[in-house]
Amino acid sequence: MSLKLGTADFAKYPFLNEASKFLTESHLDVDEFNRPEMEYIIDRATIRVEVEMQGKIYKNLERHEVEVLTFLSALMLVKLTNIEQILKKHSLFEALRAEAFLIQDLRTERDEKKKQLLLFEIFKELFKVEVDLDPENAQVFRMKVTDYLVRSSHFHEEGWKIVNKAVHGGYVYLDADEIVRLVRNELGNLIYEKIRAMSLSNVPQPIVQKANYLALKFRPTYENKLPRISDYPPCIKHALDLMSKGENLPHTARLMVATYMLSIGKNIDSIVTLFHPAPDFNEKITRYQVEHLAGLKGGQTRYNVPSCSKLNSEDLCFRTLDCGEITNPLKFRRRPD
């Protein structure tokens, strides 16, 4: 029996090489996007990017061809806007979307062979990692110790430490959520790199138009954000910078960022979004923690921004001349240039 991934799979994982094979087979080329039927696809791709820019996963799932074409259109749109924020957000939320599908598939697929194939195709093709089923329990997955270590060591929580995992015969045994979570960042990076490496020539007009629309809508407008990024104190800037690179921040740094953002009046949603790029991001936990700090949960006390000396002792202070004699990051004011 030859088992293959079907169109239902490619709809969910349009970034797999084989997913877009039908395009070459049916000699579909860029010009097709000029045809009126494509309007639906391009609109859908535009909405997808818009939803992602609001910090949400685009959940709608259609048949294979529609999904692949939407995926490709979205890539082109994002590339054309040439706005880093859009590129980053899109990569992240495409990864989160695929992650949600994958967890579901791995949990519900009863056919072991099929499950194995899915794992193999996705992990091997995309991340060059082999993931296997536990021979004794098809609900459990396993990954080579070294493949696990290079990924898990970027995670912050104790639970990811290999000492807290079942390890045997050179493998780490994991459940579906864990195995997928391990590679989330890589998928995001993959999509990010894919877009960066794209070179676009004679893009169909309808796509250009939508890209212009998106670029206008999401143009970085620092004017209406108070304070401006450049007005943040160095400690906060440094932490945000690391975070946007997908680095893991220690708990103390997260606490600093969250309390600071609450104090300058940012809403919970936008603060939670800040933490999205963290490799071990968990929406529910983060939201709870931020609400807790805001005094909405638990003890009802609102947490203050730690003092400069406290931050200094935690190695989080990156003092510059502008800091002067201040005792709390909230007092930071940038000197006029």
């Binding site: 110790v145 104790e158 639970g159 290999i162 015969g169 493998y171």
Partner: protein, 383 residues
């Protein structure tokens, strides 16, 4: 070469013995794989540390050993593009995975019976560490130990435990492991498996945690913190078959059906935090006593196989058969010409090359290998 700095004649004596060794035994000095990608370094008897050296072949290494007669000679576990450049410009390509187990980290009861305190300044034996040195009034002390056969029995056990965890759990092939006697009071275990080469310090630190049993938490067996120090239990899907979850399940005598048994146990202990402490304590107790820093450091240089240890005059040697290898005999290769020395401590007893020596605070005639051993440890001087 701390212990030799106070006496030129000690220094010359030891250096001569070392030079003779490198003439006679240069075939014991190992040729590291990818030799031209390694960083080398050495310590001389007089001038201190040299690092960032690189050699194209083993003959250049031999020549350096004979010409410079270093007290200690090192080779990196890392492979570099440019091993002779400064650290930031070397171009790190990967590193062997190395573990270090030393007798001092085993917390052995015999340790006090063969431990000596020396003044860090003048080398005088200090009887009571509460007082400054009677000779020079300096108050920093250095500890020297003469490992006994009991130390080596315990070390061998610990190394075997390490080998078992590496092969059974981490998946290292037997053939990819080499064990070395460090030349003093410990063993180094090398993993040559290329899969591990590219692991950075963070990943190695995680692995070290696994070996030590460090960083373990109740979640390893599915115990999570609920409200008010209560617990919620959801046993892991992978069960208790492997690794630390297996060891803990055995210790607690639980299986997948023991949820209420475990809850009772935790409640009896006094809740989640107590249980957490209990697990941490147990893991620490049965974890393997490796030196974490050694494994985590990916830019370190290690004493090189087949060279002499300046702290003892014994060789760092590969143990082909760990059971048969007798460090105090097999690695003791200096000559046996008798020399007169003055032994500092009273009632010093040690064993080398199958001979038991008892020496006390007076002139003793000892074979060179034994004299060098004591001089390197600061426990004797030439007359």
């Amino acid at each position: 070469m701390n212990n030799l700095k106070n006496s030129t004649s000690d220094l010359l004596f030891v250096r001569n013995a070392f030079r003779e060794y490198y003439f006679k035994y240069n075939d014991l000095v190992e040729t590291p794989s990818r030799i031209n990608e390694r960083e080398f370094g050495f310590m001389t008897f007089q001038t201190g540390m040299m690092r960032h050296l690189s050699f194209n072949n083993i003959r250049e290494v031999y020549a350096t050993l004979i010409r410079n007669t270093p007290s200690d000679f090192y080779c990196s576990n890392a492979y570099y593009n440019f091993p002779a450049n400064l650290m930031q410009d070397k171009g790190w390509k990967g590193a062997d995975l190395i573990f270090d187990i030393d007798a001092k980290d085993l917390g052995l009861p015999c340790e006090v019976s063969h431990r000596y305190h020396l003044c860090a300044n003048c080398g005088e034996i200090i009887e009571s560490t509460a007082d400054p040195c009677p000779l020079c009034k300096n108050s920093t002390v250095r500890v020297e130990s003469i490992p006994c056969s009991n130390c080596f029995i315990s070390l061998r056990k610990e190394i075997k435990k390490l080998i078992a965890i590496l092969t059974d759990e981490i998946g290292v092939e037997d053939d990819n492991i080499s064990v070395y006697f460090s030349g003093n009071s410990g063993f180094h275990l090398y993993v040559y498996d290329a899969c591990f080469h590219h692991l950075d310090s963070r990943a190695r630190s995680d692995l070290v945690g696994y070996i030590l049993g460090n960083g373990i938490g109740p979640e390893v067996i599915g115990v999570r913190k609920g409200a008010n120090d209560k617990v919620s239990i959801k046993f892991p899907k992978a069960g208790f078959r492997y690794g630390w979850s297996m060891r803990l399940a055995r210790k607690l005598r639980i299986d997948q059906s023991s949820s209420s048994k475990l809850t009772n146990f935790i409640n009896k202990l006094g809740g989640y935090e107590r249980f957490s402490k209990y697990i941490i304590g147990y893991a620490k107790e049965i974890g393997i006593k490796i030196d974490p820093q050694v494994t985590i450091d990916i830019h370190r240089i290690f004493r090189h196989g087949g060279t002499l240890n300046g702290k003892s005059g014994l060789s760092k040697l590969r143990c082909v058969d760990l059971n048969k290898f007798d460090p105090l005999n097999d690695a003791c290769l200096l000559n046996d010409t008798d020399v007169q020395v003055h032994v500092k401590p009273s009632n010093l007893k040690f064993k080398l090359r199958g001979r038991t020596f008892t020496a006390n605070q007076k002139k003793e005639k000892l074979p060179t290998y034994a004299a060098v051993y004591l001089i390197c440890k600061g426990l004797a001087t030439t007359i």
